[in-house]
């Protein structure tokens, strides 16, 4: 039985070669991953982080008209308060109703942990359906019920006939993987197992009356439209401005663009199969889903990196254009867009030339942004990827080719970031959300590696990234002063030694 047929999805650790602890260079990282030595690496000191449940929830809360049922002890859902606020904003930015996300927790107690929580889960799902009348109920299975062995799939199977909502289970116990990227697979697994991904007759389309003379033309029109439709797969870190830029570029090639799966509703998801091509915007985000759609529905896919910076955007667009035989058009479009954008960024480039930069965050982002900015004259001091898996191989082969001498770490650990900033002394850090305050306390200028309120992709993206960097250097007083009044928790001796001394084989 393949992964797709299992009720509980695999964690990435069992599906891919993966790791979260490494220091070296890009070419060694790629071979270390291929040979499996990356799998063995760990740390003898860890700081708290996130888990695959957090990212699964991040994705689920974007789905319209859904309710989340946490099958968990009372604490696991705590971050849903903030995710609800975040997703309301994202919905509003996409012209959707910014309703808060209702969520419930089975609130497992000591007695439930001993006696099982299946009955409670059933009651909670039924209450959620009755009270909120959602289109989808996401049942989120965390560590505790996974350890006690609650048969959530059986509960979901039985309860489906008693509720009006679709029930989608997301198995995401944090202990099964330290790599939060497992969440993407979990979410997609839940979506394709729990939802109907084919259009419904009379709801989504009108079936052709038998023997009608128009049938052939209608069929042809349908096929033509489908043959020009592209599904672009978004992510929580990709904001509406990026979707707009990608849509603008692909529309200019005569394609119809639809975004999935975040900020989609049940009815929109049902039409996911009505497209000629699925396109990812991040190598490690969507392969599980796109391979499924290819296997089940025969829809081909393109995974060609992240459209960030001139070279990566060109490559990404050309790969899509190749599929549709639009290479010439794409090439013209890209040349034209590049000409405009390069002229626009000229004044910025003079101000940032030679600035020493450290990159920190998601594996594809850091690799892509580092090579993109290196090409514009930045000096890349180091790259820190939160995790690495074989999906990121093309990105890091590119890093190996272009930034062979640049140190690459696989680390989501704040103490190692702190050490690198203090010892490498970058002029600027491009870093993941959640670290910005800590970098400011070190007195170092930094900007977001991604920000859903900003633009990062395509030509508008590169312009806005550079504009933001120049803006950052215009006044650094806040962080200069803050750093003088912040005491770090790490003993000074740590900064005299190896940043990665706690990585072990």
């Amino acid at each position: 039985m393949g992964y797709y047929e299992q009720s509980v999805p695999p964690v990435r650790d069992s599906r891919l070669k993966i790791g979260d602890s490494y220091i070296g260079h890009a070419c060694d990282l790629v071979s270390c991953s291929r040979e499996g030595c990356l799998l063995q690496k760990s740390r003898s000191f860890w700081q708290a982080n996130s888990c695959q449940m957090a990212l699964s929830l991040m994705m689920a809360t974007t789905v319209e008209n859904s309710v989340i049922v946490m099958h968990a002890p009372g604490g696991c859902g705590a971050l849903l308060h903030s995710l609800s606020v975040q997703s309301a904003k994202g919905k509003a930015q996409r012209g959707k109703a910014p309703n808060p996300v209702p969520w419930l927790t089975t609130n497992l107690t000591e007695a439930d942990v001993i006696g099982g929580g299946e009955k409670k889960l059933r009651e909670t799902i039924q209450y959620a359906d009755r009270e909120f009348r959602p289109e989808i109920i996401f049942v989120v299975v965390t560590c505790a019920p996974s350890i006690i062995g609650d048969d959530v799939e059986e509960v979901v199977r039985q309860v489906r006939s008693t509720v009006s909502a679709e029930v989608v289970s997301l198995h995401c116990p944090g202990f099964r993987s330290r790599v939060v990227a497992s969440a993407y697979d979990t979410f997609y697994h839940g979506i394709f197992r729990g939802l109907n991904l084919s259009p419904k007759p009379w709801v989504d389309f009108r079936p052709l009356p038998e023997g009608s003379p128009d049938n052939e033309l209608v069929e042809k029109q349908y096929q033509y439209q489908k043959s020009r439709t592209v599904n672009v797969w978004n992510a929580t870190s990709i904001g509406p401005a990026d979707e707009k830029e990608v849509e603008r570029l692909l529309t200019a090639l005569g394609l119809k663009v639809r975004f999935f799966a975040e900020y989609s509703s049940r009815d929109e998801l049902r039409l996911v199969t009505e497209a000629a091509l699925n396109v990812s915007m991040c190598n490690v985000h969507d392969d599980y889903m796109l391979k499924y759609l290819e296997k089940k529905y025969g829809i081909p896919y393109v995974i060609a990196g992240m459209p960030i910076g001139f070279r990566h955007t060109r490559n990404w667009l050309m790969k899509i254009a190749e599929f549709f035989g639009l290479e010439k058009e794409a090439s013209h479009l890209i040349d034209y867009e590049e000409r405009l954008a390069r002229k626009a960024i000229q004044p910025f480039l003079e101000q940032v030339k030679g600035k020493k930069v450290l990159f920190c965050g998601g594996v594809v982002r850091v690799g892509s942004e580092a090579t993109a900015l290196a090409e514009l004259g930045f000096d890349v001091l180091g790259i820190r990827a939160y995790h690495y898996d074989e999906g990121a191989e093309p990105v890091f082969e590119d890093v190996a080719k272009n930034l062979a001498e640049t140190p690459v770490a696989v680390s989501n650990q704040l103490f190692e970031l702190t050490h690198q900033i203090k010892t490498l002394k970058p002029d600027l850090v491009l870093s993941h959300n959640g670290t910005q305050g800590y970098i400011a306390k070190l007195g170092v200028p930094s900007i977001q590696l991604f920000n859903v309120d900003g633009a990062f992709f395509g030509y508008m993206g590169i312009y806005q990234i550079l504009r933001r960097i120049v803006f950052e250097f215009k006044n650094t007083s806040y962080r200069d002063r803050l750093s003088r009044h912040t005491k770090l928790p790490y003993k000074p001796s740590y900064f005299e030694g190896d940043a990665f001394k706690y990585i072990k084989d």
Binding site: S44, F45, W46, Q47, A48, N49, S50, C51, Q52, M53, A54, A72, P73, G74, G75, C76, G77, A78, L79, L80, H81, S82, V85, P100, P102, W103, L104, T105, T106, N107, L108, T109, E110, A111, D112, V113, K120, E123, Y127, E131, F132, C143, A144, I147, G174, F175, R176, S177, R178, V180, L414, F415, G437, Y438, K487, P489, Y490, K491, Y494, Y502
Partner: protein, 435 residues
């Protein structure tokens, strides 16, 4: 207490413990569970409590064992031992607290055994058991402080007759804990007392170590911190006094009078000064307050600590008319009984449930020509009530966890100054959307 919950306004015992530790000076957490718990739980208060943020060594800086499948199967003792050893090597702290999560409790790790290997060698370290299935964040507050004060700290050799400890406000889950504690400290100092509040930037580790010598523990909650104070009395012989957090002049007058009586002091001067200052400002605002007819029906939706003080302030100081006071904590019958007063309380947690109860109790005008509805209405609750208020056309201010629609630093509502702040915020909210 075993029912499912809709959008609970609390997290787990570990979350409460981490919030406490993250707001104590030089105390370092070691989270013994998966890597995700520490980060996710810290986020709930780092953002959800008026953007409290991470402290010296909390949130993504908090040392964590990060147990995985291997430890779930084979036990996490070795990983814990390694993590403690390296935490002591890397992180500069005066006290280290190992807090457990669900996973390591379920597999039965001997956390205390591993920790005692280090405490026997003289390292300042203790462990607390804080799985979610044993209680929520408020319990976590009691559990971790009980560990520090009643298990870790030695008995005081002598008492300081002027020293008081303040308990009952839970960092993060009482979003104004810092401002409230600072005002309580300021007021008690005016009486000539010394005050340990533990959680404000002005406090140091020495406030923790001096606590066993206190002459009185004041618990500013009828529910939270009470067990802790009882155990404290048993271990250190310090009596405790449970009272409501005083908000506004009337409550603060009473509070100071009572404290002064217990110490044989006179509160008259402090009370007169406090009132002079309060009314010096409050009186001037009467023009705006009255000319603009800012009298409201009020519904409060808060935790048990804030419920009575807030309702009383709105009724007494502003002359508003109380319609409902909801307590959102998950309480036992005995705890509910402890909250009995002249203000009737309703107990509910879910956003939907509370909105429904409000609508059932106070029906809305369905097109009648003459209808005595509950308006103008002000809902003082959490950010979760924002939508409820919008739907009813009511004013809304977030004062209870979770608070996402405002940023809080040293603001507090306790005492005389807090009474002014609350007035400013309630009315400022109206002024800010007037234009």
């Amino acid at each position: 207490m075993s029912d499912f919950l809709e959008r609970p306004r609390t997290a787990c015992a570990l979350a409460g413990a981490l919030s406490v530790i993250g707001n104590l000076p030089d105390v370092i957490p070691i989270v013994h569970t998966t890597l995700g718990c520490g980060g996710n739980l810290a986020n709930s208060t780092a953002f959800g409590s008026g953007y409290l943020g991470g402290g010296y060594c909390s949130g993504p800086a908090a040392p964590s064992t990060g147990v995985t499948e291997t430890e779930i199967v084979f036990g996490g003792a070795d990983r814990l031992r390694e993590q403690i050893k390296n935490t002591l090597e890397l992180i500069d702290g005066k006290l280290y607290v190992v807090a457990t999560g669900c996973m390591t409790e379920m597999i039965g790790d001997d956390t205390e055994g591993v920790v005692s290997e280090f405490s026997d060698e003289g390292y300042p370290i203790l462990s607390v058991s804080t799985p979610s299935f044993k209680g929520d964040s408020y319990h976590g507050y009691d559990i971790v402080l009980d560990g520090i004060f009643n298990k870790f700290l030695p008995k005081a050799s002598e008492k300081n007759p002027k020293l008081v400890n303040i308990f009952g406000l839970v960092p993060g889950y009482d979003p104004f804990f810092r401002g409230d504690l600072e005002e309580i400290e300021r007021l008690l100092k005016e009486l000539g007392l010394e005050v340990n509040t533990f959680f404000t930037p002005g406090q140091t580790f020495e406030n923790l170590t001096s606590a066993p010598g206190a002459a009185l523990n004041i618990v500013l909650s009828r529910v939270w911190g009470v067990e802790l104070a009882k155990n404290f009395e048993e271990r250190h012989g310090t009596p405790y006094w449970i009272t409501d957090l005083p908000i506004g002049p009337e409550a603060t007058d009473k509070f100071l009078t009572e404290v002064a009586k217990r110490f044989g002091l006179n509160a008259q001067a402090a009370i007169e000064k406090g009132n002079r200052e309060f009314y010096g400002y409050f009186e001037r605002a009467a023009d705006a307050f009255c000319d603009q007819d800012l009298k409201f029906y009020a519904i409060t939706v808060t935790n048990s600590t804030y419920a009575l003080p807030l309702a009383r302030y709105l009724r007494t100081e502003l002359g508003w008319v109380l319609a409902d006071s909801f307590v959102t904590d998950n309480l036992t019958e005995a705890q509910r009984a402890a909250l009995q007063s002249d203000i009737p309380l309703k107990f509910a947690t879910g956003v939907q449930e509370i909105a429904r109860l409000i609508n059932l109790e106070h029906p809305r005008n369905k097109g009648q020509r003459y209808f005595d509805d509950l308006s103008p209405l002000y809902i003082v609750g959490s950010t979760l009530e924002k939508r409820t208020a919008q739907i009813r056309g009511a004013r809304h201010l977030s004062v209870s966890f979770p608070v996402y629609d405002r940023l809080i630093t040293d603001r507090g509502y306790a005492g005389y100054r807090g009474g002014l702040h609350l007035f400013e915020d309630l009315i400022g909210q109206i002024m800010s959307v007037k234009l």
